[in-house]
Every structure is written in C-alpha cells, then in structure tokens.
Symmetry: none
C-alpha cells in the first residue's frame, strides 16, 4: 500500500485483481466477463482518480470514460470502494525488494529511497488518504488495507529488523509493532500528512541514521 505503487501498475500480470468473484461455473455455454472491458475500466479508474480524486469519482464517470455501460462495472464490483480497493491492492502487493546492505542503517536508507519514490507518485498521495478515511468507517476496507500493509511495507520492515537482530545490531525480543512504527511513521508523516514541498538532499540519509539509532536504543 504504502509502497509498491510503482512501475508496473499496468502490467498484465496483475492477475490478482478481483479474485473474490470467481465466475466460471461452466455448466453450459456461459457468458464470460470480457477482459478487454475489465481492462478499460481499470484504466479509466486510475485516470478518474488522478483527475477528480476518490470522493468526486463516480461510477457513471468511470463508465463514461471507459466507453462502457454502468452495468459492466457493477457486474464486476459491488461498489466504488471495492473497485478501487481491488485495483489498489493488486498494485500494492507486488512487493518491494528486500534490501540487504549489511547494516541496519544501510537497509533503512534503501527502504526509504524506494518508499519515498512511491509516495511521491501523485496518485498514491491522493488515494492513500482517501482509502484510509474509508477504512475508518468500513471494516471490510480496513481489513483489506491492513492486509496490503502487512504484505507490503511491514513485511520488508520486519525483514530488516530480523537481519539487524541476527547481526547483533539490535536487541532481541523488542516489541515488533513498535519497531515498525518507528521505521514507517516518520516518512509517512512527512510525505502524506505534512506534505512538505520536497525532501532536502540529506533528508533520507539523516532519517535512516536517526531511525537506526532509535532501534538500537530499544
């Protein structure tokens, strides 16, 4: 979620989109959702998100932009929320590389580079707060967000911590949630909440150094 909304958002291997509706009961000559239509909708959604944002985005608008009937959208997703969530999850989950530089600070530095690049993408910056706001209200969304978080950002951070412990850079047995908060919180706060214009040159390096110090102090 936080990370990963990077390069291949449009890659065809996004095969994970919309698995909740299996389709295909195959008893007889069954009609099947056309993949080109699905793809047109997906594209239109990202364009609409960029253009008007989640809140102003309407199913009608998506269908119009995709050159598709509203029914084609409703046939695939139960609501605007499920639609966006499904698409975004598909993108977010395509994990990010586990860094392995030999030091905690180096690993963090690498993680931050990748993450900050991802968060700088305007669509990410727009959508994330929207989904988060929805999550505050809809438990189904909340859970999907958690899942995306855990499988993306958090799993990498966990790996970094485990490596640091193995190396002896960190104590063993510390509260894992706390370590993840220390790692992910500051950059998110800066990029999404404070939204400063752009990060100074030395920012990520200093952040990695400080965070490493924090983790070692646990």
């Amino acid at each position: 979620m936080l990370v990963g909304m990077t390069s291949n958002a449009d890659a065809p291997e996004t095969q994970s989109a919309r698995p909740p509706q299996p389709r295909r009961r195959a008893p007889a000559g069954a009609a099947v959702l056309r993949e080109d239509v699905t793809e047109a909708i997906r594209t239109a959604v990202f364009e609409e998100l960029a253009a008007v944002g989640y809140g102003r985005m309407s199913i009608e608008g998506i269908a119009r932009r995709a050159g598709v009937g509203k029914t084609a959208v409703y046939r695939r997703w139960r609501s605007k929320l499920h639609l966006v969530l499904d698409l975004v999850s598909a993108v977010a989950v395509q994990g990010l590389p586990m860094p392995d530089t030999g030091s905690l600070e180096g690993d963090l530095r690498l993680l931050y580079e990748v993450t900050s690049r991802a968060l700088r993408h305007p669509v990410a910056g727009q959508i994330i707060p929207d989904l988060q706001a929805e999550a505050a209200r809809n438990p189904e969304i909340a859970e999907a967000m958690q899942k995306a978080l855990r499988e993306g950002q958090q799993s990498v951070a966990s790996g970094i911590v485990a490596a640091a412990v193995a190396r002896g850079e960190m104590r063993d047995g510390v509260d894992e949630d706390l370590t993840l908060d220390l790692i992910s919180g500051p950059l998110y706060w800066r990029a999404v909440v404070v939204r400063g214009p752009k990060l100074p040159k030395e920012y990520l390096a200093s952040l990695a150094r400080a965070t490493a110090a924090a983790l070692k102090a646990l």
Copy 2:
C-alpha cells in the same frame, strides 16, 4: 489537530469558530447571525459526525437535525468541509501544555501521553483521515490543516527540541522538519494508519526512549 481535541470540545469559549467570514458588524438597524442558531448547527454537526461519519453526513441532515433551514448553514459556511474544518480547528488549536520535565525523553513521554489520549477519541480517528483526504485535493483545506498542525502539535514539538538543544541533549542546527517528523510520525502511524487495537502498557515509554535516542543521534 493531532492533539488538543481533548476535554473542552464543547466549552462555550470556542468563540474562535468561523472567523474567516466576518459578516455583519451591525452597521445600522442591522440583523445579525443569531448565535443560538449557530450553536444549534454546531451541536448538530457533532451529533451527525458521531452518527454517520463525515462521508455520509449531509448538509440537509445537519439542518434537519438542528431544526434549521439549509440557508442558515450556508450563510455561515461555504461547504460541509469548511464547516467541519472550522469546528475542528477551533477545538484543535486550544493548545496543549508545553511539557517541561527537565529531559528530552521525559518531555516526549508527556507529549505522547496527551497525544495518544486525543487520538483515541473516536471522532478524531474518523475525522482526521477525512480532512487529510480532502486536503490532498483542496489547497485551502490543506493550508488550514497545516496551520492547525503548526499551532498545535508542531509548536509543542519545536519547544521540546529547543529545550533539548539548550540543555545540550541535542546538537544545534539540525533540520527542524526532520526532528518534527521523527517525533510525530510513529505515534500517528500507529494510531491512525495501522489502527492496532490498543497500545501495550510500555509502548509510550519505549517510544519516548527510542525517539530521544534518534534525536540525539542527529
């Protein structure tokens, strides 16, 4: 914003509400926006927020609940967003006490106690992501949010840093934005983004210790 949505949300001295629209200084036999109507609307807004959340909340619903015409609302605020923003700012700005415990870690610990109590309030948890999502789109909102942030959370954090520098606990001349991100980020991430069930007993203490270490390492 982040802090301060504490006790006296309903205190009558919230006279700062809606200062941007000056309106009617009683030039002559002039009619003036009636304060009782304004108050009824304010109350209705908080009730609606609690009942249906920001997204489902409608101006029509507020007016209905307040026993007031839609006009009365629109005469005072330009939109749902300004309305909520105004009310929330009024509440958020009522500063929080500047801690002074004699040590960086102690000051942070105190700040976190207050902040985490504020963020635990369900209305805060609901509204903050909503406003943030809007801010990502509407620069006017964004600025108001920044202002509330600066005058609330950030100013306190600044004070803590300044005291630490004066005490010799931190180097002078470090990137101030970075220090603020390190201070505010982790708790926000935990409380608003990850939304874990509740913080373990030792969490805040450990967080303060780690953050102090991070700041000293800058």
Copy 3:
C-alpha cells in the same frame, strides 16, 4: 375526452390542471411550485406526445425538452400517467356546445361534425387509445377517463336525447346507456379503431340519419 381537444388547449384558464395535489399549507414562508416551470412542462409534454407518442415518451425526455429537472416533474405528478391524464382532462372538459337545431337528426349531425373534427386532431388520435389501454389496467385512470367522458361527449348526447324525447321524436323511458352507445359508438369505431383514411363527403349526414332512425326505433 372524445371531444373538446380542440382550439384552446393552451388557453390560460386551464386552471383545473393538477387539482388533486392542493399544496399551500401556508404555515410560514413556504416555497411554492413555480407556475412558469409548470407551464414549460405542460408545453413539453404536448410536444413529446406529438413527437414520440405516449409509450415512448419519458419523464427524462420531458424534463430535458422543458429545460427543467426531473424533480420538478415528479414534484407535480406521481407518474407519466397522472401527468398526461391531468393535462388531457383539463383540455377535454372544456365542454362542447349543446346543439339545438330543432330535430334529432340535425342535432346529431352537428355533434358529429364537432366530434369528427376533434378526433381528426393527430394528438387526440394518438393519446386516446393510449389512455384507454392504461385505463384497462389502472382503475384510477379508468375513473378519470369515465369522468371526462361523462362531462364531455356523454353529457351532450344526453341533452340531445332529452330534447328528442321532449319533442316526441323518441319514446320516453328507454335505456339511456344504450342510446349513448348508439350515438357515440359508430363514429369512434370509424375514427379510432378502423382509422379509414378520411370520411366521404356524405358520411356524417348518412350517419346522423341512420342513428336518428335507430333511436326512434327504440
């Protein structure tokens, strides 16, 4: 209904339109349906009726043509049917002149002249079967149609019969419904059901003569 959809369909004294919804409870400064909007809708309805007929006519189309929101239409009439029925009744009821030529045959002749002119109007020819078809299903419509019939065509026919009885041209005490069927049936059948191209010159005269003979034979 059958008659009267003649000249002044657009006369302003059509004040009887939409009396079933009284409006005006006047408790305070109440908003009121704007007459210019109502008039625009009425005009649009007649235009749509002429253009696409009752069946293909849609509320959306009416609103579009009238330059009005759909709500404005729904605020006034519960359905397409009530809308058309209301408008048509208003027009139909503006009675037709009671003929008085001194003879049964002469009176019938005059009635037929007026009626056939009215039925020749293309909108009448289109709408009447539509409304009748609806009436076969919706008792509310059926009743309104009956009323329009009674107050229009039938009342004139009754008058003609009464005069003939007074003159001694007809027996007294005959089944009144039967007389009305004999008078109104043939021309309606011809104009609406059979829809022959146009009536031969002598048709109405012969019809009047034959019908007079039928009535006298009762």
Copy 4:
C-alpha cells in the same frame, strides 16, 4: 380481433404463428426452430399478459418464465409487439360462424351474442386497447390489425348486410363502410371504451333492433 378470442386459444393447429419470417428451407444440415420452444414461449406470453398486462410485460420476463433464452424469442419475433400481434391474430382469425336466421335483426342479435362474449374475456379487454394504441403509431401493426378486423368481425358483418340486401331488407348500393361502423361501433364503445359493469338483460336485443332500423333507413 374483436371476435373469436374464444375457446381454442391453445389449440395446436395455430400453425400460422410467425409466417412472415419464412426462415431456413433446409439447404444443408439445417437446424430448425424447435416447436416445443415456440410453444413454451406462447404459453409464457399468455401467462405474462394475464399477470402484468401488455405494458409491463417484458421479453426478459417471458423468456424467464418460459425457461428459454432471450435469443429464442428474438429469433422468432422482432419485438414484443410482433409477438403479441402474431399470437393474437392467430387466435382472432379463427372466424366466427356466419349467422343466418332469416332476418337482419336476428342475424345482428346472434353476432352481438358471440361478440359480447368474446369481448368479455379479460385478456381481450386488456390487449385490444394496447394493440390499438400501438397501431396508432406503427403502420405495420395498424395493417395487421386491419387485416384481423377485416377477416374477423367485418367479414361477418359484410355477410349479414349482403344477406339483408338480397332479402330486400336493405337498399342496395349504400356505403359499406358506414354499415360496418353502425354494426360494430356501439357494442365496441360499450364494452371497451365505456366499460360499464355488465350489460342488462335486454341490452343486446334492443341494440339489434335499433341497429337493424338504422340500416334499413340508409
């Protein structure tokens, strides 16, 4: 049309359904419209007509009720209208017996007995105005209706008139259309337009007497 919708609506010899679309003379390994499917649709149409009426009846509903694909319906008829028209014509055309009582009045009396029984059938009462309303818009429908009329009701009436002329009861050379209008109009008006509750005992007899008088007066 007007008459004949009597007993054997479901007789299997209604082979006349859909003759306008000749379809497949077996050029090669040809498939042929399955008669059992056709029959299932026919049955479903009558059921739907009874259940919801012509206006609310939908092709989808018919196919659903018949347990058949929409395609199967469209393969046989071009539209709801053609479907109903075809079915109804098939029923209507099964002529009615030519009466021959030896007198004009007697013949009319017999015709009216049969006709009024047919019109009393609720499905007839529902469908006829619907088709007529369509005919007012669609010339193809109009022609089919004319044809059904001519081959049903009108041909019988013509026969009655011819016999009366032969007998010397009527003048020769009168406008034939007028005689048909006089014969068919009143009962139709009464049964379909006015829709009075039910006919009084003496009604048909009186009607036949009066109509005979009218015809003789031509």
